[in-house]
């Protein structure tokens, strides 16, 4: 694999039921590439948490996954409300999700911490009222 592989997805913000489809597809693609189960699981969990966040908080967005021989890069971009306090958002248990979201099994304040936990680096570029781009790397 000399050239990087790039997978692009549009994440539908109106449909909680379909949230996670992009992560499911990435998991399948990475399996086909023969990567280790541990790497595949880390990438797919981190991406899944991000995808759910985009649906819950930002009315959807885009997801790009770039696979090289050295790393897997996951870029999640939305035009949602932005994150006013990133440090606070990174704390386990902190959440701005509504009770209706919690009743669906999310909004426990573990999304961003889990994304950090399962990746080697996580960068958050956010501006209130403009949107958020999260870039994660998992090294191979």
């Amino acid at each position: 694999m000399s050239e990087p592989l790039i997978f692009h997805f549009d994440v539908d913000g109106d449909n909680f039921t379909s949230a996670g489809q992009a992560s499911t597809q990435v998991k399948k693609n990475l399996r086909q590439l023969g990567l280790s189960p541990d790497i595949i699981r880390r990438v797919s969990i981190a991406m899944y948490e991000g995808e759910i966040n985009m649906v819950i908080h930002a009315n959807g967005g885009t997801a790009d996954v770039i696979v090289t021989e050295q790393y897997i890069e996951i870029i999640l971009a939305d035009k949602g409300p932005g994150i006013p306090n990133v440090e606070q958002a990174m704390q386990e248990g902190f959440s701005t999700a509504t009770d209706s979201i919690r009743s669906l099994g999310f909004g426990a304040g573990m999304g961003l911490p889990n994304m950090k936990r399962y990746t080697d680096t996580l960068e958050i570029d956010t501006m209130v009222g403009v949107g958020t781009t999260i870039t994660m790397y998992v090294y191979l």
């Binding site: 099994g105 999310f106 426990a108």
Partner: protein, 117 residues
């Protein structure tokens, strides 16, 4: 523990993938919050939950889980059963409450997921 033993201990009804009841599982996680479930990585695990929406299946899929048990008499939709079947995840439903179901599996040797990344 074989998945068939989980079925017997919890008096559960198998909803799909009956052909995989002979598989072994080594750990379990009980929660209605999927992000809590996603915190723990452990191979060949069982998820016990009272939540019934498609994200339960996706969470189990991301975690490479082998079996989902719905507690408190909760029943998934046909679409959810199809999703689980596509992923080769054994799905079952029990009338037991979460606390009792987890306790029953624990005392019979299926420990929790104490280690996380």
């Amino acid at each position: 523990m074989k998945i068939s033993e989980i079925r017997d201990l919890l008096g559960a009804e198998v909803l799909c993938c009956e052909e995989y009841l002979d598989r072994d599982v080594y750990s379990a996680c009980g929660s209605d919050m999927m992000s809590d479930v996603l915190m723990y990585v452990k191979d060949q695990a069982v998820l016990l939950t009272g939540l019934t929406n498609p994200q339960v299946i996706r969470t189990a899929e991301m975690m490479d889980m082998k079996c989902i048990v719905f507690v408190r008499s909760k029943k998934p939709t046909e679409a959810m059963i199809e999703m689980a079947a596509d992923d080769d995840i054994v799905m079952m439903a029990s009338d037991m409450r979460m606390y009792d179901a987890c306790g029953t599996l624990y005392v019979n040797g299926l420990i929790g997921t104490a280690v996380h990344v």
